[in-house]
Symmetry: C2
Subunit: 135 residues, 2 copies
DNA sequence: GTGTTAATTGTTATAATATAACATTGTGTA
DNA sequence: TACACAATGTTATATTATAACAATTAACAC
């Protein structure tokens, strides 16, 4: 067990940012996070972006690429798999993480024609949520 | 033929931007497009972004969300379907559009548990292309 | 303890991406 | 002609993200 420099626990800033993202429980943007954690001592965008990078890397949060927003993971397996899927309502912007074994199994085993080796994927579905469909 | 305000042809700026994107034949960023079409008379970012919006809307190009880049469509059916999938090499950044009937059929018919009505999706796979795997 | 390494933080400045607002011009059709 | 709508031109600004560098902290080996 030599040079095992892999941290078990989150650092101070990482924990502050994660706590806030988990509290709001919906996709949130980096600068909005910044404004809301300034009372905790985080002053600069880079402090937020660095925490976000780490949290994404370890699977605690995900980036909704089409929205430039970040959301807490609801799916324990993401910390390992890096396989993410979301449904996004184009009307109310509600986002939910899809957890579907069949879907993830299918996509993890997908082979493209060019013989590429996939390590991860991100899938975003767009449409209307139930509430917005009725209106 | 009444009130048929749906244009058949691209406008001048839209055509300039599309021509350039098709010529480079790889994902390219908005400001890079701007620099390269200034000789054609396009001077401001907004002129590029407006053309890009339209071209994405009609399926002539796609946005690679994780890269903030735009690429010409290689798949005639995208003008209708809005169902896109890409493979992205994390080493050389090569991007190719996946055209796989089984995959698109599977995803188009996917139903999430919340009963959302999907109109489109975007899927991005990440990994190493054949060339970069060898190295 | 000391020394070593990597991770994290703090800070200022700047780069890169994208949109707001408003006036004007072009295009198809009644 | 007049109308509706799409597209353009222009300036300014908003939003998202990173570069560069110095300082501090945490984990481990010896
Ligand atoms: Zn997750
Ligand atoms: Zn909705
Ligand atoms: Zn396409
Ligand atoms: Zn490659």
């Amino acid at each position: 067990m030599k040079h095992m420099h892999k941290q078990e626990n989150l650092s101070k800033n990482q924990q502050i940012v994660l706590d806030y993202i988990e509290k709001v429980n919906e996709p949130i943007k980096a600068y909005s996070i910044l404004h809301n954690v300034q009372k905790k001592g985080i002053k600069a965008p880079l402090q937020v972006y660095r925490a976000l990078d780490k949290l994404v890397e370890i699977g605690k949060i995900h980036k909704i690429e089409s929205r430039n927003a970040f959301v807490a993971c609801k799916n324990s397996s993401c910390q390992l798999s890096k396989a993410t899927a979301f449904s996004i309502c184009e009307s109310c912007e509600e986002v939910s993480e899809i957890s579907d074994n069949k879907l993830s199994k299918y996509l993890k085993s997908f082979q493209d024609k060019a013989g590429m080796k996939f390590k991860k994927y991100n899938l975003e579905f767009f449409g209307l949520c139930k509430k917005c469909s009725i209106k």
